[in-house]
């Protein structure tokens, strides 16, 4: 259970999955923020207003998958590091990363699942670490489709010798 282990269950995850049609259309954000907390920076970060305005700051963010372009602007804004972007056409996953060293394009990293277990090696295809993100890098890795919903963190270092 999420409350006991910190790992969202498949029930929790049901709440966020855009349908197959939407996934085919291109990149889309997945917000893994499942419980009410007084927090709202994600709403302000979206240039396309895809995240509904919070009526109450404690609301769970509600993302309109049709409006979302998968631009990834929201990823680094979230203090919970709870936002990811998947692209089922390019088979990529973008995630927030706040550890050093920040990997570079072309590096091989471990893809970790929600429990921190190494599940798949992956290649880094893009790293965005602009000053405006204030040290939260957004790392994009390439993964087989079946891992796009499983990998949620990376381990850098080991695989590059």
């Amino acid at each position: 259970m999420l409350e006991k282990t910190g790992i969202p269950t498949s029930d929790d995850l049901k709440a966020i999955k855009p349908d197959k049609e939407r996934l085919k259309k291109g990149p889309v954000a997945l917000i893994e923020c499942f419980r009410k907390i007084p927090c709202d920076p994600c709403f302000y970060s979206c240039p396309f207003d895809a995240i509904d305005e919070f009526k109450d700051i404690n609301d769970i963010p509600n993302l309109d998958y049709e409006t979302c372009t998968g631009c990834g602007n929201c990823i680094a804004s979230c203090p919970g590091l709870a936002i990811f972007v998947v692209d089922y056409n390019k088979n990529t996953l973008s995630l927030p990363y706040e550890f050093l060293p920040v990997p570079e394009k072309g590096d091989l990293v471990w893809g970790l699942n929600r429990a921190g277990k190494k599940v798949k090696k992956a290649e880094v295809v893009r790293v965005k670490d602009p000053a405006k993100n204030d040290k939260t890098a957004v790392v994009t890795i390439k993964l087989p489709k079946e891992y796009l919903m499983e990998v949620r963190n990376i381990e850098v270092g080991e695989l590059n010798g």
Partner: protein, 371 residues
């Protein structure tokens, strides 16, 4: 004796916003802080703050502290005294302070107390072994002095502080072997829990620390499962190796000055300990004393800043530095605060505040027998 309109005690987010608001109408303000710089808890927070975007959430605690400090420096009618500790509260709003090793007195028309909180300790066997630290001490070492406290840590407490400090330790390259939590559920925000969980840190709820292991310093800890009545389950003991045991088992409002000043305080578990009775403008039972932030109840920086603004505004308005929009502004701030507290986390806080509302409070002052 130093005279001033407003004295703010404590230079954390609550005290800083109180000083800024109070000074904007032209009043003379002194803010004293016992540390050598302003910022309070914020200067140790390298993580992005959750909370309301309007109150700076999404940016790092340390950056919020810098912004507020710059604002304060731009107000010429705020005098900042660092390395200045309020030692005692005497009659007629005279506060004695020790400033840069000298003893001084300040007399103010209104005093805003924003002293924050102190960390709780936990009683377990061998808890005096070197290597047992409070989370605050670990943060100070790591984030202010750049010193790694050790190599492997066991974190006790899965509230927000335990979760966030675990994350900061991971970022510093320290292994977090486990997070131990006595309650059956993680107390902190689950996004923070998931963040460290997917970095490979196990979180053991319904577990407690039985003893620290080691001869001259910590080498590990014996942890044990708890049953539904929070009793240790015999036979479930296991040893986790580590050279640091970090305690993040809650905060206690630093209400000493309020108690000295004989403001009514009531023990209120929802708010973390003995907290002052106050009205919605954060005025205590003493006409000249306001409070704001964690000393009024353990909460968050966003709430602390809003409370600071309310207290600052109201305090100056009572000594004649009113601006015409004050009612609107106070109402806006109170509405913001109310919105912030409308979720499940805020509900507990609200219940607590209801108990200590001036005029209709329940509960006992644990210090009243002294008068």
């Amino acid at each position: 004796m130093i005279n001033t309109d407003i004295l703010v005690i404590g230079g954390g987010p609550a005290g800083m916003t109180a000083a800024i608001k109070a000074s904007e109408s032209g009043a003379q303000v002194i803010i004293i802080e016992r540390y050598h710089e302003l910022g309070g808890q914020l200067i140790k927070q390298t993580h992005r703050f959750f909370g309301s975007k309007k109150e700076q959430a999404g940016i790092r605690g340390i950056s919020i502290a810098q912004e507020l400090t710059e604002k304060i420096e731009n107000h010429s009618n705020i005098r900042v005294m660092t390395e200045a500790t309020a030692e005692g509260y005497y009659e007629d709003e005279v506060v004695t302070i020790s400033h840069e090793n000298k003893f001084k007195k300040i007399k103010a028309k209104k005093v805003i107390i924003a002293t924050g909180a102190s960390e709780n300790m936990l009683a377990f066997e061998n808890n005096d072994l070197p290597g047992v630290y409070g989370a605050g001490a670990v943060q100070t070492l790591m984030n202010l002095y750049g010193i790694l406290p050790g190599e492997k840590v066991i974190m006790v407490g899965a509230g927000n502080i335990g979760l966030i400090v675990s994350y900061q330790l991971l970022q510093a390259g320290v292994d977090v072997e486990a997070v131990i939590e006595a309650a059956p559920k993680i107390g902190g925000y689950l996004v923070h829990a998931s963040k460290i969980r997917r970095a490979g840190v196990p979180i053991y709820t319904s577990h407690s620390i039985k003893k620290a292991i080691g001869e001259n310093s910590v080498q590990g800890a014996e942890v044990v499962e708890l049953n539904d009545n929070w009793e240790m389950k015999v036979g479930t003991e296991k040893v986790i190796e580590a050279d640091i045991i970090c305690l993040a088992v809650g905060l206690n409002p630093l209400s000493d000055l309020l108690i000295q000043a004989e403001c009514e305080v009531v023990y209120t578990p929802e708010l973390g300990g003995d907290v002052p009775i106050r009205d919605e403008n954060l005025k205590t039972t003493k006409d000249h004393i306001f409070v704001a932030g964690d000393v009024a109840g353990i909460e968050e920086a966003t709430a602390a800043m809003l409370e600071g603004e309310i207290a600052g505004l109201k305090a100056v308005s009572e000594i004649g530095y009113s601006n015409e929009n004050i009612f609107e502004e106070l109402n806006r701030l109170k509405t913001e605060l109310n919105k912030l507290r409308s979720g499940p986390v805020g509900k507990v806080i609200k219940n607590g505040i209801e108990k200590v509302r001036r005029g209709n409070y329940v509960g006992k002052n644990r210090y009243s027998h002294l008068r």
